[in-house]
Every structure is written in structure tokens, then in C-alpha cells.
Symmetry: C2
Subunit: 494 residues, 2 copies
């Protein structure tokens, strides 16, 4: 395995190449790379002594902490799989995760939810965790193939239950490297982990910072004043900040109490730009745009690689291929809508214990993202929306998300959902359920005309039903409820 | 093979993502990515029709040309291996290459040497090559695993004959990506291929430019005036230039006739810096330093990642691990000399048809570079010199290159070589053969003292023999001749 490079290997090299660099800061804890390497070895040894073997799962139920990175790296050293669960979930939701993963070891922070779930042998963060690390003996671990999964992150609930996407060291290292390219990260780089580490958006920058041999600063969760304090104290280069979070941080530093000039980050507002150093990397210039999902390791396409192209998702990462495919697996021409599919170095290894879903998502040798997109004439990609389900009208495929996006672009429309209604001639016809803005008016004919001017005629709704609000499941329409209320059915493949 | 990304895949993605970008410029030839993709498909089809199959070798005997990149990409599409041979070699040397590789197809530029070697079926560059491309039919090729070798580059002659280092698509893509990081390359990047493409130093930037979707400009060989003309005409971002080549280009543009401001490159001299745009990437800041060899894909360590550390080879690429190992495979402590060994994503796949050498070079799961290095206390790496052979004195290992380097640091020494002389007590003792500078004087005792102050006592020569000049084989001392002339022998493992 001369070509293998696991996360554990990256750490082992930094311990030699960067003996004086601070790897981790978390409250009073400061660890150099050799110190982190030694702790990870002891933690891996302690987990092995407790019976954690290759392929076993190790679960973290808690907020951000350096223990998250240590457990991930110890799992890499062991060949085990680490899962930082979403600690904001209810006891029932977390119980599902525990049952689904059947972890060989669990570390937790005390809370009402973890107290309700707690089982014998679980290790409490803090003193118990430190005692565990202290019991581990220095030892050699055999090399682990970097194609083995090392990180599990729960993602969107297809079929009503969440699924743990498995990411290998090879995928995580490749994705981190793509961020090094687009973010132009250099070895002297300090990342503030203030976003949730159970989400790929924060985890990917934590790992890119590890990859380049920088410093990861951990804070339990987003607190604007604490973010200011840490940026100042640790000379932070980048934090997990966008939109309203940036406004909140700028407001917390209104008095100019903290020196945020070490932050080399995106331009946002006059107040913000005056506090930080506006960065010119492709990532920062593009205001962090692109398209991604956990299953591709984070980002699949980067707006920073679009050079002004039309598609707001930008262009693919240098380490992947992207195809826009029709349901039959053929490539759709530029300008037409299809499913965003991908291959390449950053892709996940399937979901844990979901063989049928894995076969479906990787059919024909391409990962099917479940999202719709379009290739613009300049080659850039536009993300349209989740595929979810497809309507078959005549020989044509109609994706509700595409029609909904156009309906919602009408000034009078507050929200919209599109369903397929059984039809003897056409198999299905398109029906839209629309909620208008309180003070606005638009007729059925107005809205159908609006769609017809922007999309192919077969995609326009035959009928529109007006409602006060669209029922939702998370961020997306509750299509089952809509079908039942408005006569939907006959979906292809259903 | 959802994680595979071959060079052919990279091209296929750019054909979709960058339909309007110029991929290749070579004289009057200008190809966009879709045009290059279509030509590569036709070339691969034509080669397949001529019997080139998976694993077969395809040879180029000629100077730089866009055909070099096309043949490499066509071989990637086919699963074949492309070798651009060193066209400066003699007919005998190139005959060895032809015999060694037994290529299934050869393309050549006419010269005295290629006329002497030419066999039936060889394709002449220019019209014959274009006719070959024209015969190929558009078709689908099955996916090729990116772990398969795709490029063969001949390297140093261990054991008296050169060996073809095989590089896979995975290694080349990984190495290209490491350059994207350290050179901070962006999609709008134009590289002038004016160095030899049979050498990894030029090829690695050609492939990094491909990887990021930039433009490769080809010129047959280094001509300062033509380099100026092309930089101006094609708005070139980087060329293969260092040291005296930079001076020659600056001199060729003394009159300021050409606008070289598009070149974002290393600072060198006042005249040069005024013509170009001095670049601030780690690569350019460091004046391109580091340590590398073909077998690691190009660069193993980058001075641009050293952040001012002591070791002139810098720190490892983010995609490899480096260890300094003793002959018994154990790691030597920081500050001590050992062999530079490596693992990781950019490493080669062994030499073509050299099973014994491959086993030797990859023993214990580490690639053994054959070069000596030292880890400095700050973790950076110092390259010392080729290992070549080792002297065993008592229980201690003495590397001639290390002692020679110290001898040559003495102001009176012009050149030095160190051999091992059989010894009943110590197995071998160290003997130095030294050539002094014409006007300088130094005694045997002076030089032994000089070594003793800088190295461990067991490394100092017991005897010094003064000669007028050191016999050489290429750049290194001819140790066989020296042993014979000065009583060397008893080498461990010999």
C-alpha cells in the first residue's frame, strides 16, 4: 500500500514535519502536532483495548471539541469509522442513530438527551475521556488502506430515515486538497471550528486545515462575541461564517474591541470589510458559492472556478467528473435539465448498511446526487433543486423542482409545489399547488403563461390550485400529503 | 470504479465544463477542450485499430509538440502506456529504449537518429500523424482504472542501464493537484512548454495546467527570443525557466520589444522583475526549491511549504509521507542522515520490466529514493546527495555523499570522492580521494580535522589521497574506477 495516505498518515507526517506547530486549540488545551499524534496513538490503543476493531463504529454525542478530531484520527489509525452525531436531535432521533450504527464505543457530553440514552461503557467527555486516553499505551499500528471508510455523517432522509454517508480517508484527503486549491490555503492557516462538526461544511475545512498542517481552534457552537475573542487571540485565518452570522460577528465587534484583521475572508459589508482582510482566493472572491453534498465529500463544484460563467454552481472540482444525466443514464445536452451525477476522488463509499439504496445511487458507475442541474452553454453548472420525484407526461420527464422554481420566480407567488395527476392519455399531467403572497393577485392563466414563457410547453401545469400554505417536510414540500389532498399519483417507478 | 479519475476523464470533463477554453497552442494549431477531446478519441481509436491494447507501450521520438499531450491522453483513454523518449540521446541509447519497451506504436520526428532506427509502421510526425488521427472513428471507450500506469519516463541508470518509471493517472492527477496548491494555479493559466517533455519537470506543469483547465503552449525546445514572442502573443502565465534561462530571456527582451507582463513568475534580477509580474505563491516565493525525482511524480517536498525552516528541501507535499530511514528500515532521529523514503498518492508504480529493482526500491512498504537526507529540528528536510553505496565501519553506516559534501565545503577542495577500504578490525575504513583547487593548499590532517568538526568521528576519512581530478560517470564519481585505483572494497551487500 505504497500509494495509501490515511488521515492517520497525514497526522504522522505532520508530527515529523511540523514538530513546533500548534495543531489544536480548545479552551485551555493546546497541542502541537507531535502531542496530538501521541494522544491519538494512546486513544487508538485504548479503544482497541476496549474491543474496537477494524470497521467498527465509534460515536460522538456532543458539541464541537478537539475530542472530535482526536476520535476521527484514532479511528483512522485503527481502521474504524467515526461518527459525530447531530447533538441537536431529539432522544428518539439519536436513538435511531445508536441503533443504526450499533457503535463499539460512544463518547458523550452530558445533556438531557444523552442522559436518557446513556448505556453502560459510554465515556463521558472531560475527565472520563482523559482517563481513557491516559490508559492507552504507545504502540505501532499496521497501515490502514486509505480506501477504507473512516467518517460517517448522517444525511437527508430518503425513504423517511436518515442515512450515514461513509467517507474514506482517500476521499477526505482528496476533498481537503481541492479546498487547498480553491481556498489557496497555506501552512500558516488557523481555522475556527464554530460551525457544527457533524456537518460536512465545517468538517471539510477542519480537515483541509489538518491537511496543510495548520491550526484548528474549536469552540462548542456559534457565539458572535466568543468568535471575535478567538479570532483576536488565536490570529484566526478563517471561520465558518456566512450571511447573517457575519452580520452578527460584525455587530459584536461594533466597538472595535477585537482585532479581526488576521481573518482573510469574504467581502460582505462595509463594516465587516473594514475589520478583516478581504481575501482574493477563488473561494473568497466567489463568496463561497458552489454545489455540494455530504456524499461527494463536501463540494462537487466551485463558483470560484467559474471565471464569470452563467451557472451559479460554477465548475467541477479538479478531482471529479460531473455529468448531467437523464433517467435512462444518457447524457442530456447543454441547456437541458437532468440529474447531477459524479465520479471521482472525493466521492463517498456508500451509506452504512443500505445495500439497496447504494445500488440505486451508484447505478451505471455514476453517483446520482438526487439533485437536478443544467449545463450552461459556457460549461458551468446551474443547480435547480432536489429531484425527489419525477412526473411522466407523454414521453417527457417533468421534474417538480424545476417547475416550482419558475413558479416561485413570479412576483405574486409565495410558495409552490408541483405534483403529477393520473391521466389516461398522458400517463400523468402536471398540477401546481400555489400559495400567493398576502397582498398579491395572479390568476391560474397568468401563472401557466409565466411557466410557458420560461420552460418547454410540456412542463407547464394544466391546473393550478391555490392554497394558503404548502405543507412541508423539512425544507421540501410534503408531496405525499399534497398527492392525497390534490389527487396526485401514477408516478413512474412508484 | 466510481472513485477513478484518469487523465482521459479529466479531459472529458473539461470538454463539457470548458467548451470555449483553448487547451492547446502549437504553431498554427489551436484546439479548444472539445476539439482536443475529439482528436484524442479519434487517435485512441486509430491506435486501437492498429493493435494497441491495454498495457501496450506507445513511444514518441521527437521534440515538444501537442502530439505529446495527445498521445498521452489517447493512451489514457486506451489503458496503454505512453513514453516520450529523450530525443537528444544517441542512436544506441534510443535503440535500448525501443528494445526495452517493445512499443506497439511509435511516432517520430525525422532526424539522423530516428532515420537510423526507423522500423516499418512507425508514424512520422506531421502529415502521417494527422492522417492517423483522421482515420479514427468517434466511439465510446470503457472506463480505465486510474491506478493503471499511463506514462513512462526514463530515469537514472542504476546498474548501468536506464529504467522507465511508470506513473499512473492517479499519481499524475495527485501530483498535478499538489502543484495547483503550491503554485496557486487558477483556471485562467497558460503554461509554455519550452523545457523537454521527456523530463518530469516540464511534464508535471503541462499536466497541472491540464488539471485546472488552462492552456498548454508548445514550442520544440528552448529559444529565448521565441519564448519572448510566445509569452507576449499567448499571454503566458508560466514557462519552464530558471537561472541562466531567465537571464537569456531577459537579455533577448532587452529592448522591451515584447510584453512579458502576463508572466506571473519568480523574482530573479532587476531587469527580469521589471518585465514580468512577480508572483507571491509559495512556489514562486521559494524560487521553485524542493526535492523531487521522477519516481515520486515530480516533487516530493516543497521549499514553498517550509515557512522559513532550515532544510533546503522544504516540507513534504500534502499528498505524501516522508521518512528518513536507516538501512535496516528503522527511522533515524532528527539531525541524522538516512535515506529519503516516501509513501503516498503521487508515487510511481515501479519500473517497467524490472521486478528485482522494484522489490528493492519498495522494501518494507516505502519507496526508497536512493537519496540521502536529514530531518532538521524544525521538521524541514535537507537533501544531502545520492546514496549510491554505503560504507560499513564498525557497526556504523557511512554514506560517501555526506562526507564528500563536507569535504567540498572546505575552501581548498575542488572535488572529492569517498570510498571504503577493507579492514580486518572495522570491516571497512573511510578513504577520501581529493582534488584541490589549483592555487590552494591543504594537508591530509587539515581535511580530516575539517570533517571531524562537522560530522561524527566515525565518518572522518582515515586516509586522504590527492589527485588532479575525480573520474566521473555522469554527475557522480566513478566509484568502480576509484575502488580499483585506490584499494576500495568489502562493501556491505556487495
Amino acid at each position: 500500500m505504497i500509494h495509501s495516505l490515511s488521515l492517520s498518515d497525514v497526522l504522522a507526517d505532520h508530527a515529523r514535519s511540523r514538530p513546533q506547530v500548534t495543531a489544536v486549540v480548545d479552551g485551555a488545551v493546546r497541542l502541537t502536532y507531535p502531542e496530538l499524534d501521541a494522544r491519538v496513538t494512546r486513544l487508538a490503543a485504548a479503544l482497541r483495548a476496549r474491543g474496537v476493531a477494524k470497521g467498527d463504529r465509534v460515536l460522538w454525542l456532543g458539541q464541537n471539541a478537539h475530542a472530535v478530531l482526536e476520535l476521527l484520527l484514532a479511528c483512522s489509525r485503527l481502521g474504524a469509522v467515526f461518527c459525530p452525531a447531530n447533538w441537536r436531535q431529539s432522544a428518539d432521533e439519536l436513538r435511531f442513530v445508536v441503533d443504526d450504527l450499533s457503535p463499539a464505543a460512544v463518547a458523550y457530553e452530558p445533556s438531557d438527551v444523552t442522559q436518557a440514552l446513556r448505556q453502560e461503557g459510554w465515556v463521558q467527555a472531560g475527565e472520563e475521556y482523559e482517563s481513557l486516553v491516559a490508559t492507552g499505551q504507545e504502540q505501532e499500528f499496521p497501515q490502514v488502506d486509505d480506501a477504507e471508510p473512516v467518517l460517517a455523517l448522517y444525511t437527508a432522509a430518503f425513504d423517511g430515515r436518515p442515512n450515514a454517508a461513509l467517507l474514506s480517508s482517500a476521499a477526505l484527503v482528496a476533498h481537503a486538497t481541492s479546498l487547498l486549491v480553491v481556498r489557496q490555503m497555506e501552512p500558516v492557516f488557523t481555522f475556527l471550528n464554530n460551525g457544527p462538526l457533524f456537518h460536512v461544511g465545517t468538517m471539510m475545512f477542519c480537515l483541509a486545515t489538518l491537511q496543510i498542517g495548520g491550526t484548528n481552534v474549536f469552540t462548542p457552537a456559534f457565539d458572535p462575541e466568543e468568535v471575535c475573542r478567538l479570532i483576536d487571540a488565536e490570529r484566526v485565518t478563517q471561520a465558518f461564517l456566512f450571511g447573517g452570522m457575519i452580520d452578527a460577528v460584525a455587530k459584536a465587534n461594533e466597538s472595535g474591541k477585537y482585532d479581526l484583521s488576521s481573518l482573510r475572508f469574504v467581502a460582505h459589508s462595509a463594516a465587516w470589510d473594514g475589520m478583516i482582510t478581504v481575501d482574493d482566493s477563488p473561494w473568497c472572491r466567489s463568496k463561497m458559492g458552489g454545489y455540494g453534498q455530504t456524499e461527494v465529500g463536501g463540494m462537487l463544484t466551485f463558483l470560484g472556478l467559474a471565471e464569470g460563467g452563467a451557472g451559479f454552481a460554477g465548475r467541477p472540482s479538479p478531482l471529479v467528473q460531473v455529468r448531467i444525466l437523464a433517467p435512462d443514464g444518457t447524457e442530456v445536452p447543454a441547456g437541458e435539465t437532468g440529474e447531477i451525477c459524479a465520479r471521482g476522488k472525493t466521492l463517498f463509499s456508500g451509506y452504512f448498511a443500505r445495500p439497496d439504496l447504494n445500488a440505486e445511487k451508484s447505478k451505471n458507475g455514476w453517483h446520482h446526487t438526487g439533485d437536478l442541474g443544467r449545463r450552461e452553454p459556457d460549461g458551468t453548472i446551474t443547480f435547480i433543486g432536489p429531484r425527489l420525484r419525477m412526473i411522466k407526461s407523454g414521453a417527457e420527464n417533468v421534474y417538480p423542482a424545476e417547475v416550482e422554481r419558475v413558479l416561485k420566480s413570479h412576483p405574486a407567488v409565495a410558495d409552490a409545489a408541483v405534483i403529477g395527476v393520473p391521466d389516461e392519455t398522458w400517463h400523468q399531467t402536471v398540477k401546481a399547488i400555489v400559495a400567493l403572497k398576502p397582498a398579491e393577485k395572479a390568476s391560474e392563466a397568468d401563472l401557466i403563461d409565466h411557466v410557458r414563457t420560461l420552460l418547454a410547453a410540456y412542463k407547464k401545469p394544466r391546473h393550478i390550485t391555490f392554497v394558503d400554505s404548502i405543507p412541508k417536510r423539512g425544507f421540501t414540500p410534503d408531496y405525499d400529503a399534497l398527492d392525497e389532498a390534490h389527487g396526485g399519483g401514477n408516478y413512474p417507478g412508484a
